[in-house]
């Protein structure tokens, strides 16, 4: 999130699209309601009439997978009616940048941007025009036909309300009503906010869905202001923190790209990962990257290795390699791994194409599964269709502590790092996760010390200073405070530096915690596991544990409650909430203001008023990107159909699907069981769009909540929602048992026949959509084999995973699976 949950109350218009906070983030609705009490309008755009829709002033249905068409139409509406926040757009976005004249838009180029060939883009023509010294050429009047603003206008001129209606199925009057209300926030004293979740990410155009909204927010001057921004309502308590921690193949902690094989030395790595700019006024914050890299390497190996040695030890991926989720399970299915950790995860139900995931695990020699309850992953070898006698995989299921049985912090979607305390011990022999990691690491290190092995120093030299050490030099209980301090960072040697804030000389002693990341060094004198958390645990103490109640601005920043990254800033990009002379666009809801110094929130990106510094300091050039040439599938979002879709062609262009997605049904990648339906042409076996979603009572795969009888009682099993019209067509009655099928598998479900779904009119054709929750799994069902001593749910649930149906296909940039729009059928149980 750019902003945070309480800040929703400062919005004048809130658009719920790609999320359903009333069901899935219920307490966030407190702040939506607060905004509405003050007169805010609530808009909800969703294929289904959700609980959030029921609370909205305007509900507009749209067909799953057509968000870019919907929002592209809004961009056209805003531009055509001159509703942009013009001063903001001119001062803070790249609207004025001149693009390479050779650049072509999809409307002039058969549905693809210039440079397309062989399944990917050569981005040479997406570049900017520069002067002799390399500075980007700009046209402040925004009239040059090659300037970003004119290109944007031209690109979305094709997204007429008529065209959008034919693609999305949204009635034209609803479309225009949403556009009109949302576009009203382009006035400097109005704030528009958008709340999204997996409804936007789980598409082959997921990143571009979000980009389209970012463009709208920039055009309306809604980024950086109170009540504005772009909010990802994330699905797990600490998925923000786990992402920050670099538990992904492509990033180290703090969003530093992992090294690739061609980056042979630390120096080369620093050069490749540190952006540069010729823009004279840009701060280009990422110029500090080498400090964060050096501090991270120190956090891995301390003084046991030089920085260069530490870099050498770190694993490097091949240039261009992709090891993301779908690729990982594809490799596992092909028998490429002998070992696997599923730590606090249940991929047998959460992974797209779960049948493939479950079969893949049978190819392993060993698997370690750490969890609170028995689950479909740890017990995959005795799941439906499995013959344990034929499965060689050795499985270790390790019991761990729940959140109230250990101490530590988690980070919410608003980036607030909040501390949790231990209430009781874990049951029986269960241990806190980090104690399990510690014990395991020590044993592995011992084996390498004793028996040697390839580059054994990478293992044996790892530091592990997380707590009080016994006479054996080892910790016997993981201390989360020590780890939080290492995230914050500290000096490894006595050092005198120029204080980046006061510009005075300042002495630090070995072991002193750094006050913030501005103090981290590139010479190896500081250690910090994750630079964005610098400031979380300082000489002033554990900032995440703070419970201060002050709110002097009345905006709900609560700067003394917990701690938010970065540097306790509550609204990111707040430098864009003031005009170039430093005056708030909206003095009544100003997150920062100038009185000879900045007041309010921790200022972001601004120099002194009038300094001319563009406020988007995490971008090398400093400007918000209406035009985003960094993505793999185009600098502007363009509507493409989901890979599996109910239409014969893309009405906007001859290019039906996102042209750069990685298809798993092509030779070389994918496997024999990666089937798709309705890709080239509609497949009558799977005539309905299917989407997945959540209910309030369950979490994720239900791996925890299905074992809690109160919750299992309230939501006991798999269901499928369908329209009254579709049920009539299929002869299905409310409450009947049905089977939902896709090209990958099938699940049993109870039919819920409801007016919450309505058939869509897509370009004159009736198109049905159905929806299923993804919280269920076989382990908590009654009618499965039980061994003596097996755990048995107090309240059984019914049905297996929705992901048995979803396809192995991902977003072109992130590879997040397209679980929100695929093709399926639904039939009465027992009917072929």
């Amino acid at each position: 999130m750019t902003n945070h949950y309480i800040d929703f109350k400062n919005s004048d218009v809130i658009l719920i699209m790609g999320s359903n906070p009333a069901s899935n983030h219920p307490i966030s609705f407190k702040w939506i309601t607060r905004a509405m009490e003050k007169g805010a309008k609530l808009l909800c755009v969703d294929p289904r009439f959700t609980q959030s829709a029921a609370k909205s002033h305007v509900y507009a249905p749209l067909r799953s997978g057509t968000d870019i068409a919907f929002l592209g139409g809004m961009i056209k509406y805003i531009i055509d009616n001159n509703l942009i926040h013009a001063d903001y757009v001119k001062a803070y976005t790249n609207a004025s940048f001149l693009v390479n004249p050779a650049f072509r838009l999809p409307g002039d180029n058969k549905g693809v941007f210039s440079g397309f060939g062989d399944g990917k883009y050569d981005k040479a023509t997406w570049s900017y025009q520069t002067d002799a010294s390399g500075v980007i050429k700009k046209d402040p009047t925004l009239r040059d036909p090659h300037c970003v603003y004119q290109l944007l206008k031209k690109h979305y001129s094709r997204y007429t309300p008529e065209m959008v209606n034919r693609i999305t199925g949204t009635p034209k009057d609803k479309l225009l009503e949403v556009y009109k209300i949302y576009a009203s926030t382009g006035k400097p004293d109005k704030a528009g906010n958008v709340l999204y979740a997996m409804g936007w990410t789980q598409h082959t155009v997921g990143v571009q869905n979000i980009r389209t909204m970012c463009i709208i927010q920039l055009l309306l001057g809604n980024i950086g202001i109170a009540g504005g921004g772009v909010q990802a309502l994330r699905g797990e308590g600490n998925v923000q923190g786990s992402t920050d921690a670099g538990l992904l193949f492509h990033i180290w902690p703090g969003y530093i790209g992992t090294p690739t094989a061609s980056m042979k030395t630390l120096k080369e790595f620093n050069e490749k990962r540190t952006p540069t700019t010729k823009e004279p006024n840009s701060l280009n914050w990422w110029k500090n990257t080498p400090k964060y890299i050096a501090s991270f390497l120190r956090s891995m190996y301390g003084m046991n290795a030089t920085l260069e040695e530490a870099y050498d030890y770190m694993p490097k991926i091949e240039d261009g390699a992709n090891h993301s989720w779908l690729m990982l399970f594809d490799q596992m299915y092909k028998g490429k791994f002998t070992g696997f950790f599923a730590w606090g995860m249940n991929p047998a139900c959460s992974g797209a194409h779960s049948n493939k995931v479950r079969k893949a695990m049978a190819k392993l020699d060993w698997m370690v599964n750490v969890n609170l309850f028995d689950n479909e992953t740890g017990s995959f070898w005795r799941g439906p269709g499995m013959d344990p006698a034929k499965i060689k995989t050795e499985v270790f299921m390790l019991p761990c502590a729940a959140s109230i049985e250990k101490e530590g912090s988690i980070t919410n979607s608003g980036r607030w790092m909040q501390w949790r305390y231990k209430a009781v011990n874990p049951p029986g022999a269960a241990l806190p996760d980090a104690d399990i990691m510690t014990e395991l690491l020590y044993r592995i290190q011992d084996l390498y010390r004793k028996h040697g092995g390839p580059v054994k120093e990478a293992v044996t030299k790892l530091t592990w200073d997380y707590g009080f050490k016994g006479a054996d030099g080892r910790i016997h209980h993981f201390d989360p405070h020590a780890a939080a301090k290492e995230m914050n960072g500290y000096f490894l040697v006595d050092k005198t530096i120029e204080d980046p804030v006061t510009k005075q000389k300042r002495e630090f002693k070995k072991g002193d915690l750094v006050p913030s990341f501005a103090y981290l060094q590139d010479d190896g004198s500081t250690s910090s596991l994750c630079w964005v958390y610098s400031g979380c645990y300082t000489a002033a103490g554990n900032m995440a544990a703070r419970r201060g109640q002050k709110d002097p601005t009345g905006l709900g920043l609560y700067s003394e409650w917990s701690w938010s990254w970065p540097v306790n800033r509550r609204i990111i990009y707040n430098g864009a909430s003031v005009d170039p002379t430093g005056k708030p666009w909206n003095p009544k809801r100003a997150p920062i203001w100038w009185t000879g110094k900045w007041n309010g929130d921790v200022p972001d990106g601004v120099g002194d008023p009038g300094s001319g510094r563009p406020p988007f300091i995490m971008k090398p050039d400093g400007y918000g990107c209406l035009y985003g040439p960094g993505l793999s599938d185009g600098p502007f979002p363009e509507h493409y159909e989901p890979l599996e879709c109910p239409v014969e062609k893309n009405l906007l262009s001859p290019q039906k699907h996102n042209p750069v997605v990685k298809r798993f049904d092509k030779p070389g990648i994918g496997s024999d069981i990666d089937a798709y339906a309705s890709v080239g042409s509609c497949d009558p076996r799977f005539p309905f769009i299917c989407s997945t979603y959540r209910v309030s009572e369950h979490w994720q795969t239900g791996v925890l909540t299905r074992w809690c009888p109160w919750l299992a009682e309230m939501q006991p099993g798999m269901f499928v929602e369908m329209s009254v019209e579709l049920a009539k067509e299929k002869g299905i009655a409310n409450g009947e048992q049905v089977v939902v099928k896709s090209a990958r598998g099938e699940v049993e479900a109870t039919a819920i026949v409801t007016p919450r779904f309505k058939p869509f009119n897509i370009d004159g054709n009736t198109v049905h959509e159905i929806g299923i929750p993804w919280h269920f799994g076989w382990i908590t069902t009654e009618n499965r084999p039980y061994n003596p001593g097996d755990k048995k749910a107090e309240v059984f649930t019914f049905g297996d995973a929705a992901n048995l149906l979803t396809p192995t296909i991902g977003d072109a940039n992130t590879m997040i699976p397209e679980s929100k729009a695929f093709m399926a059928n639904v039939v009465k149980k027992g009917v072929k």
Binding site: V239, A342, W343, K392, G414, R420, G453, L462
Partner: protein, 185 residues
């Protein structure tokens, strides 16, 4: 008028008793139940489910959770909880929690209870065997890559920050490159 919890019980008892219901509610006004959190130790926690970050007060007595409720001190949630947050009690007080390490041998049809020492020793040996077998120090071009290609990991957004950070350290220290978790799905 400030009304304490106990006082509220008395008032409502009185109001009901005088409302002509025809049943005696005298005991209610006479004996307010002792609070179930009496003598309990209170700690605060943050809900582990969605990403809103609601605060919860956990009351424990004799090492056992006796109550969980919304924490009015949190500016985010101000004491409110949803169905999931309101059920945290059952995450701890739950006879189905895994409480011993379990092991399933190759081709076996059942779990076997094992000790931590036995399980961790065996996992450590497995890790070393897999790493040593699949470790690649250099790629085809002779570039240093120092990676373990034969082990993968998924997890976890369900861990604390401090655990996530040291888990990535553990994994990258072992040379893993197939590192993924919930954020990707």
């Amino acid at each position: 008028m400030e009304v304490t919890r106990r006082g509220f019980l008395k008032i409502s008892g009185f109001a009901l008793a005088s409302s002509g219901l025809g049943i005696s509610l005298k005991p209610v006004s006479a004996y307010a139940q002792p609070l179930k959190i009496k003598y309990a130790k209170e700690t605060t926690t943050i809900c582990p489910y969605c990403s809103v970050g609601c605060s919860i007060i956990v009351s424990a007595r004799n090492g056992k959770v006796v109550n969980t409720e919304g924490d009015p001190g949190s500016p985010i949630s101000r004491g409110s909880l949803c169905t999931k947050g309101g059920s945290i009690y059952q995450m701890s007080v739950n006879k189905n929690r895994l409480d011993k390490p379990l092991y399933r041998a190759p081709n076996s049809a059942e779990w076997k209870e094992v000790s931590w020492d036995w399980a961790l020793d065996k996992i450590a040996e497995n890790v070393k065997k897999s790493r040593d077998k699949s470790f690649r120090a250099r790629n085809g071009k002779g570039e240093t890559v120092n990676r373990t290609e034969g082990i993968a990991s998924v997890g976890s957004a369900a861990l604390d920050n401090e655990e996530c950070q040291v888990y990535q350290k553990f994994l990258r220290g072992l040379g893993l490159v197939y590192i993924e978790h919930q954020a990707r799905i």
